[in-house]
Subunit: 192 residues, 2 copies
DNA sequence: GTATGCATGTAATACGTTACATGATTGT
DNA sequence: ACAATCATGTAACGTATTACATGCATAC
């Protein structure tokens, strides 16, 4: 029986495979990457990355070569195997489904919607104001990062980052428009 | 000692609390809601909802009143307790943080970025085309839902839904622009 | 000599997913 | 009579989060 390895992998697994396909890296290097770049947000905690690397190795998708044998804590550099690259490519080639699209769901909007309902327009307005200030700061941060990093990025990465900027800008515009709209409702209530 | 109940709750917990604050519902009613409306995507599977209701009850945030006592499978209707409403309001009142903002991270863009790098522009183009078609269909679906449902929605919900529509429209525009850009690169490679 | 960064990991816990399972009620 | 829908749950499994833990190298 041809033991089709159909283990399901997490997004973190694929993110790691992709990064290792660029160049071999250590677990620590991956942590730094997740901490420093606006990559879809993966936790940079050791409790997620080292177990992920361990299971990728178990599944034969990456190999580790040890450096600094002498010391007690050797540095391990990981690289994808042929099977690992194949797995990555299968994932990358699969067509987009509706489910995936929706999975990028918004936590914050849930809060906003209920805030207006449960706490009223004033609280919803406060929510939007804190959202707007965080968004404005983050958009600026992303734009700075884009200016600085995009020239040295591959086309795909650059485009993906641009969507990140665009999305947050849309979100920001929406927040400002929503603030105006809530303001109108508030005034109307005052007047009536 | 005043036992501050600082148990952390999941987004699903808060979603359920919010929905129960609108009106008392059964677990099954919640499942139907998650299945039918474009709510940030929560699983409609019993394996997530019933355990969530059970722990909310354990924590004293909801109570259950049983209907149809006679039958073997009674119907339980849940409603938030005073503590539950308080918990919900604390969550709704908290200011937005940078971390939350980023948590709405994009899975698909990771795939796209690596696809271009690992598989090349042709595969990235195929990815974008499948993305575009799914996006276009979903945007239309959302717009239909908006037209139909928004008149009977509270302002907060309506605004949140509008952001959903706007975001996906931005995403769609980006995909179309990215397709054009990848096309230019492809042609340039052919020519040179 | 002390703090910070490099570098690796484990343990406890809880949550979500998938699959399994039961049985009542309603419609055809 | 049969199918679909109502309605509720459990069990196995894997994974993420948090906190804990070790120890070297370098800079101040």
């Amino acid at each position: 029986m041809l033991r089709t390895v159909s283990a399901r992998h997490t997004t973190l697994d694929y993110a790691i495979l992709g990064l290792l396909s660029q160049e071999p890296r250590s677990g620590y290097a991956l942590r730094k990457l997740f901490a420093a770049t606006p990559m879809g947000h993966f936790s940079d905690s050791p409790g997620s990355i080292y177990p992920a690397l361990a299971r990728l190795r178990r599944r034969g998708l990456v190999t580790a070569t040890v450096q600094n044998r002498r010391t007690l804590r050797p540095r391990q550099v990981f690289r994808p195997t042929a099977a690992g690259l194949r797995t990555l490519k299968v994932w990358l080639s699969a067509p987009v489904t509706r489910e995936e699209l929706i999975a990028a769901g918004s936590d914050l909007m849930l809060r906003f919607a209920f805030a207006e309902e449960v706490l009223g327009p004033a609280a919803a307005l406060r929510f939007l104001q804190s959202l707007e200030s965080v968004l404005a700061a983050y958009v600026e941060e992303l734009e700075r990062y884009y200016e600085e990093a995009s020239p040295s990025m591959p086309l795909g990465g650059r485009l993906a980052l641009r969507l990140g900027v665009e999305s947050h800008r849309t979100h920001l515009r929406w927040a400002q428009e929503a603030i105006r709209e809530l303001g109108r409702v508030g005034r109307r209530k005052e007047v009536v």
